[in-house]
Subunit: 222 residues, 2 copies
DNA sequence: AACAATCGGTTGCATCTGCAACAAAAGGAG
DNA sequence: CTCCTTTTGTTGCAGATGCAACCGATTGTT
């Protein structure tokens, strides 16, 4: 258990809280660890998400299964990542997603109700915890918003331009943290079509690029 | 000012808080009302969002201006709506968006720091306020997530199917709250192309529809 | 009834983009 | 160095989609 304390401490949910306080708080929060075997469910669609999950070890996937049997991979989680936090915060009664372990994993569950309610004992850090939670959910929301603005574009060119504009100002070289495959996934376009459009844009002088470094050429409006 | 109290009470941020408590809290929260003339800015890109805004009257638009002069309309706000809440929660130093009034408007600003910190006086409702804020941000995040899953689809048909599956189960008739224009905007596709694809799908027996009522026909998997 | 306005459907067309298959670079391991 | 793998760019092609223009139906107003 003690080896997990550093991990928990490095988790954004507990940012600004010392290791000693964390140990005290885990009690207040009704924290309980749980092992999830490979292919086991840490959460099933339909469950009531009355807790926030923290991945301590292993790897899990967040899946949405629609009514027609389709499965969509929404996220892959590793140590330190949270799950079910938005569901719990929004008081969703039945989870629309499942969380399944791709490897033998260990998760920590924190009772959501106890995060909100200030406990009578010495947990002066509840406020910090709630602030962190707000920050986490809000930042995720902004990241989604940013990608949405990209996916609203109807053309690959439009998506590329929007993406690059979120990454830096026109005129300067910038290195993007995604390779072509990951970029194509993020922009939700075909990889080869992305390469093609990049070539075209370079030929037209809209941008220059070399591998994963890009530079928007300023004069090009629209 | 008093006529605004009901409006504030009906705002999700103050759900569960009585009108009398609200009036007390507004003091604690460092609330200050502000008139915004038509075409005036309630917030400018670059501002530090250290407060949450509540629209009391009028209409405002949230705009993002990219580095190349483009302007994107992100939202239209009316009485009761919040703005800058995600920015404040995420501790963003410089707002990437502006909020501009399309009509003479009045907004209420609540100091974000005071929402988080429990005040020493009788404001037992701080906890409720924070819980509401978490819920608001989390629900917005889930709505974004839902739309993103739609926009990740590369075909109009895929987007229609995803959308309808979020609205209800296959086999039953369901009325969608959007007309064709709004639906096309939501799915980020051309309206006529949407009509065309709907016709096609009906002809193929994938779904049936009449105006804004749709029914997915069960047998059709992918 | 006449009219305008809004909404939804249809169609022709040019272009875009997904898809598949292949080619060319760029590492990494032996 | 060679082989293998991974990454990136290229190309042909068919089908999908944006766009613009038009038509018909519906609704509300005078």
């Amino acid at each position: 258990m003690h080896n997990f304390l550093d991990l928990i401490g490095s988790c954004p949910l507990f940012a600004g809280v010392g290791p000693e306080e964390i140990r005290q708080m885990l009690q207040c929060l009704g924290a309980r660890g749980e092992d999830v075997p490979k292919d086991g469910f840490a959460m099933m669609a339909g469950d009531t998400p009355d807790h926030v999950g923290v991945v301590l070890a292993g790897e899990l996937r967040v899946l949405r299964e629609d009514a027609m049997g389709g499965r969509a991979l929404l996220a892959t989680l590793g140590p330190g990542d949270l799950f079910a936090e938005a569901l719990a915060c929004a008081h969703i009664a039945k989870s629309p997603v499942s969380v399944v372990a791709t490897q033998p994993s260990r998760v920590l569950r924190l009772a959501f109700g106890r995060i909100l309610s200030t406990c009578p004992s010495a947990c002066a850090f509840h406020a910090k915890l709630v602030e962190n939670m707000l920050g986490i959910v809000a930042r995720k929301s902004m990241a989604l918003q940013s990608r949405m603005e990209i996916l609203e574009q109807k053309s690959i060119r439009g998506r590329i331009l929007r993406y690059l504009l979120t990454q830096g100002a026109p005129g300067e070289w910038l290195r993007v943290p995604l390779d072509r495959n990951a970029l194509a996934d993020y922009l939700a376009v075909d990889r080869s079509a992305l390469s093609r459009e990049l070539s075209r844009m370079a030929a037209e002088g809209v941008l220059a690029y070399k591998k994963s470094e890009f530079r928007l050429l300023v004069d090009q409006a629209i």
